[in-house]
C-alpha cells in the first residue's frame, strides 16, 4: 500500500504534465505551434514506425558500447585516483579537457581519424567518463573512516579497504554517476551520428528530418532517444534506491580527516603534480596527432597553435577575432554558470522537499539531456529570441543535470540520526536542510559544482553556434567551414584552459571550506 501511495502522486503529476502539454501543443499555444501536442508526436511516431528500428538499433549499439567503456574507465580511474591521490592531481587537466572539449570541435576530427562505429562510441564514452569518474571519487572519498579503521586494524591494505568499505559505500554515488551517464551516452552517440555522415542512427535520421520543419518528427526522435536513456536511468535509479538505505551510516562519523597537509610539507611534489596536470593534456594532444597520423594541415600540435596564434601571417587577425569572441563569451559564461548551479541546487533541494514533484519532473529533465539542442533550436529561438535568455537557457540545460543528480545523491546519504536532531526540535524542512543536510552534503555540493563549471562555457558556445552567432562558438563553427584548423585547435585549447581555470578556482575554495568544516575533500 505504501508502495502504491509512493507512486500515485508522481504518476498523477506526470499525467497532469502530459495533459497540459497536449492542450498547449494542440492549441498551438507555444511558439505558434512549434511545440506539438503529445498525441501529435505519438501519431508521428506511429507513421514513421518503419523508419525507426534500424536507426534505434544503431544508436543503441553505439551508445551502449560507449556507455560500458566510458563508465568502466570512469570507475576504474576513480578507484585509481582515490588509491593514489597524487594521480588525481596529475590527471586533473586531462580529465577536465575530456569533459570540456566542445563536441563540435572534436567530432570532425574523430570522424576523420576513426571509422565506422568508433567515432560514435568514442563520443558516447567521452560523455560518460568524467561524470562517472567524479561520482566515483566523491563516493569513495566520503566513505566512513571508522569502517576503514576497522579493516586497517586487522592489517587490511588500502586495496582491501577499497574493496570492502569504500566501493560498497560509494555504490549509490557511482550509480548516480551512471544515471547521468545514460543520457550523455545517448546524446554523444546521436551527435556523432548527426555529423559523421553515416546513414543509420537517430542522429542521422534527425539530420535528414531537420529540413522538414516538422516538429512532430524532431520530438519523436527526441522522445525515442529519451526512452533509451530513461530506461537506463530508471534501472540505475532503482538500484541506487535499493542500495542507498543500507549505505547510509547509522550514526554520523565525526572523525576529522587527516590534514591533506602534504601540500605545505612537500611543496616540490605539489608543484610537480601541478605541472604534470598542465602538461598532460598537451602531451596527449601531441600523442594523439602523432599516433593517428593526422595530416599536418588538419592537425595542429600545441606548438602549431602557438605558431598560428603568434607567428603566422594570420596571427594578427586570429588574435583579434579570438579576443573579440572571448570578450563576448566570457561574461555570459559567468552568469550561465551561476544560473546552472542555482537551478541544480534548487532541484536537489526540492528532491528532499517535494519528492513527488521531482519524480514527475525527471522525464522532462531527461528530455533536455537527450534531445539534441540543434533540434530544439527553432523552438527555443521562437520562444526566447536570440539573446541572453536563450544563451542562459542552453547553458542551464547543459550544466544542471549532473550537478543536480550528484547533489541529490549526497543529500540522500545524510545519516538519519543527524537529521533527527533538528527534527526533534520541530525544525521545518527548510531549517533542517539549512542546518543539517546542506552542510552535511557540502562535499557533494562541491563535486556538483566541479561538474558544472567546465560545462558552462560549452553551453554558451553551443548557444552561440546555434542561435546567437556571436563569440567563441560562432568562431569555432565558422572556422570549421574554412578548414581553419589553426583556429579550431586554438579555440578548443582555449576553452579547455578556461575550463581548467574555472575548475581550479572551485578546487581552491572547496579545499578551504571543507578543511574548515573538518571534511575530507574529493579533490
Amino acid at each position: 500500500m505504501a508502495g502504491n501511495k509512493q507512486w500515485a502522486a508522481p504518476l498523477r503529476n506526470v499525467v497532469a504534465l502530459l495533459l497540459v502539454w497536449e492542450v498547449v501543443g494542440r492549441l498551438d499555444l507555444i511558439a505558434d505551434g512549434a511545440l506539438p501536442g503529445v498525441s501529435e508526436i505519438l501519431i508521428g511516431l506511429w507513421n514513421d514506425r518503419s523508419d525507426y528500428p534500424l536507426h534505434v538499433w544503431e544508436t543503441l549499439k553505439a551508445s551502449g558500447l560507449g556507455f560500458v567503456i566510458g563508465n568502466l574507465l570512469g570507475v576504474v580511474a576513480g578507484i585509481f585516483f582515490v588509491l593514489i591521490p597524487v594521480s588525481l592531481r596529475v590527471f586533473r587537466g586531462l580529465n577536465i579537457a575530456i569533459f570540456a572539449l566542445p563536441p563540435i570541435a572534436i567530432a570532425p576530427i574523430l570522424s576523420l581519424t576513426l571509422s565506422g562505429l568508433t567515432p560514435r562510441v568514442v563520443l558516447a564514452a567521452l560523455g560518460c567518463y568524467f561524470v562517472t569518474m567524479t561520482a566515483t571519487v566523491i563516493g569513495l572519498s566520503q566513505s566512513d573512516s571508522r569502517a576503514a579503521d576497522l579493516i586497517r586494524v586487522y592489517g587490511g591494505s588500502n586495496w582491501l579497504i577499497m574493496r570492502m568499505v569504500q566501493f560498497r559505500s560509494a555504490l549509490p554515488s557511482i550509480l548516480s554517476g551512471l544515471r547521468v551517464a545514460a543520457p550523455n551516452a545517448v546524446l554523444g552517440a546521436i551527435l556523432a551520428e548527426f555529423g559523421g555522415g553515416g546513414r543509420w542512427g537517430l542522429g542521422a535520421y534527425l539530420l535528414g528530418s531537420l529540413g522538414r520543419a516538422e516538429p512532430e518528427r524532431l520530438w519523436g526522435i527526441g522522445v525515442v532517444a529519451t526512452l533509451i536513456a530513461g530506461l537506463a536511468y530508471g534501472v540505475f535509479a532503482l538500484m541506487s534506491h535499493r542500495f542507498v538505505g543500507a549505505s547510509r551510516a547509522v550514526t554520523m562519523n565525526m572523525s576529522v580527516p587527516e590534514k591533506a597537509g602534504d601540500e605545505q610539507s612537500r611543496p616540490l611534489s605539489s608543484i610537480l603534480a601541478g605541472a604534470m596536470a598542465v602538461l598532460l593534456p598537451f602531451l596527449f594532444w601531441w600523442a594523439f596527432i602523432r599516433l593517428l597520423d593526422v595530416p599536418a594541415m588538419i592537425s595542429k600540435t600545441p606548438i602549431g597553435v602557438v605558431e598560428y596564434l603568434f607567428f603566422s601571417p594570420a596571427a594578427q587577425s586570429a588574435q583579434e577575432r579570438l579576443i573579440a569572441a572571448l570578450w563576448e563569451t566570457l561574461p555570459i559564461t559567468g552568469i550561465g554558470l551561476l544560473c546552472g548551479l542555482t537551478f541544480a541546487f534548487l532541484l536537489a533541494i526540492s528532491s528532499r522537499l517535494f519528492p513527488g514533484f521531482l519524480r514527475a519532473f525527471m522525464p522532462v529533465a531527461l528530455v533536455t539531456q537527450t534531445m539534441p539542442l540543434v533540434a530544439l533550436t527553432p523552438l527555443l529561438v521562437l520562444l526566447l529570441g536570440r539573446g541572453t535568455s536563450l544563451t542562459l537557457w542552453v547553458t542551464i540545460s547543459v550544466t544542471f543535470f549532473p550537478a543536480f543528480v550528484i547533489l541529490a545523491q549526497g543529500i540522500s546519504m545524510v545519516p538519519r540520526a543527524t537529521r533527527e536532531l533538528a527534527m526533534a526540535y520541530g525544525a521545518s524542512a527548510g531549517q533542517e536542510l539549512r542546518i543539517i543536510t546542506i552542510p552535511a552534503s557540502m562535499p557533494y555540493l562541491f563535486a556538483a559544482t566541479r561538474l558544472t563549471v567546465p560545462r558552462a562555457l560549452l553551453g554558451v558556445m553551443i548557444a552561440e553556434w546555434l542561435a546567437t552567432g556571436k563569440g567563441l562558438g560562432n568562431l569555432l563553427n565558422q572556422s570549421r567551414g574554412y578548414m581553419d584548423y589553426g583556429m579550431i585547435w586554438t579555440v578548443a585549447a582555449l576553452s579547455v584552459i578556461l575550463a581548467v581555470v574555472f575548475y581550479q578556482l572551485v578546487v581552491v575554495v572547496e579545499r578551504r571550506v571543507l578543511q574548515r568544516m573538518g571534511m575530507s575533500t574529493a579533490e
Binding site: 546513414r199 542521422a204 539530420l207 522538414r212 520543419a213 588538419i298 533550436t377 560562432n474 567551414g481 574554412y482
Partner: protein, 294 residues
C-alpha cells in the same frame, strides 16, 4: 576493377542522383572502377577526407577549397564542377518577399556560419552595408523562417522552397549567383597526388558520372521513387522532396559543354567572386584537361 572511393558532401538526397544512378547501372564498373560511395554530413569536411586518403575524390564548395589551396598550400586540384551555378540563395516567404539584395536591408537573415563571408561578399557587390542586415546563425531547420522569426535564410534554393510549401506557405528565392557571387558548387576535387597516379580512374569517374547525370535529367521525376528503399531509405526526407530537388537543380547542373565542364569565363567569374571575399585563387587550381578526355 580498381577500388575508387568517393566522398559526397551531404546525406543521400537528389543532390547526388547522378552518382546513385551510375552506381546502380554499373557505369562505374564499366569504367573499371570498384566505386565506394560515402555520404557526408555536417562534421564531414570533404577536403579533409582526401588529404587523409579516406577518399580519392570529393565534392566541395569552391570557396573552402580555394582558400585552403591559396592560404595553406593544400595540394588540391578542381577537375570539374557538378553545379555550374551555386544553388545557394536567399529564401524568403512570398508574404514577406525578399527578391533582391536591397530588400535585405533592415531584415534578419539566417546564414550558416560557414557562408557568412559569401553573403557579405554578395552584399558588398550590391553596394549594401553589411551592418544593415541582421545576420544570425542558421541550423538546417526552416521553421523560424516559416514562423516569421527571421525574414530570410540562406539555403539550397533547390530544396527549401519545397519544405515551405509543405508547411502551407509559399517561398520565393534568388541565387547569390545571380547577384554577382558567381561561383560553382560541388566542385570535383582531388589531390595532386591522385591526379598523378589515378588519372585514368578519374577520367573514368567523370565519364560514368556524366552518364548517370544525363540519364537522370532525361526525366528528373523518374529516378527518385526508385530509390525509396535503397539510397533514400531512412533519410527522413520524402520522395516528393527529392523530385522537386531534382527538377530544380537541373538548370544549375546542365551545361552546353557537358555536365562537370568548367568554361574559362566561368572559372574566371568564380575566381573574381572569391577575390571579393579575400580568397585569392588562380587558374592553375583548376585542371580542365581531364574533362577533355571524357
Amino acid at each position: 576493377a580498381s577500388p575508387f572511393a568517393m566522398q559526397a558532401s551531404w546525406i543521400n538526397d537528389a543532390e547526388f542522383a547522378g552518382y546513385f544512378l551510375g552506381l546502380d547501372k554499373g557505369y562505374y564498373a564499366d569504367e573499371g572502377l570498384d566505386m565506394s560511395y560515402a555520404s557526408g554530413g555536417p562534421d564531414v569536411i570533404p577536403e579533409s577526407t582526401i588529404i587523409t586518403g579516406r577518399a580519392d575524390l570529393t565534392l566541395t564548395t569552391p570557396d573552402t577549397t580555394i582558400k585552403a589551396i591559396s592560404e595553406q598550400g593544400a595540394p588540391f586540384k578542381i577537375i570539374g564542377t557538378q553545379y555550374q551555378k551555386n544553388p545557394i540563395g536567399i529564401v524568403s516567404l512570398k508574404s514577406n518577399p525578399i527578391n533582391k539584395p536591397e530588400d535585405l536591408v533592415g531584415k534578419t537573415l539566417a546564414v550558416p556560419p560557414v557562408n557568412v563571408i559569401s553573403v557579405e561578399a554578395m552584399l558588398k557587390l550590391n553596394g549594401i552595408d553589411k551592418a544593415d542586415v541582421n545576420i544570425v546563425p542558421y541550423a538546417y531547420d526552416p521553421t523560424p523562417l516559416i514562423k516569421g522569426e527571421i525574414d530570410a535564410s540562406l539555403d539550397f534554393t533547390t530544396n527549401v522552397p519545397f519544405t515551405i510549401s509543405q508547411q502551407g506557405a509559399e517561398a520565393t528565392s534568388f541565387l547569390l549567383y545571380d547577384f554577382g557571387f558567381t561561383i560553382f558548387n560541388d566542385t570535383v576535387v582531388v589531390t595532386e597526388e591522385t591526379l598523378k597516379t589515378k588519372r585514368k580512374e578519374l577520367v573514368g569517374w567523370l565519364r560514368a558520372s556524366r552518364r548517370g547525370w544525363e540519364e537522370n535529367f532525361v526525366d528528373p521525376t523518374v529516378w527518385p521513387p526508385k530509390w525509396a528503399d535503397s539510397w533514400f531509405k531512412g533519410t527522413g526526407r520524402t520522395i516528393e522532396n527529392e523530385i522537386y530537388f531534382n527538377k530544380a537543380q537541373q538548370p544549375l547542373v546542365e551545361s552546353p559543354n557537358g555536365i562537370f565542364s568548367m568554361a574559362e569565363d566561368d572559372i574566371e567569374a568564380c575566381l573574381t567572386a572569391l577575390g571579393q571575399i579575400g580568397i585569392n585563387g588562380s587558374r592553375d587550381m583548376f585542371d580542365t584537361t581531364l574533362l577533355e578526355e571524357i
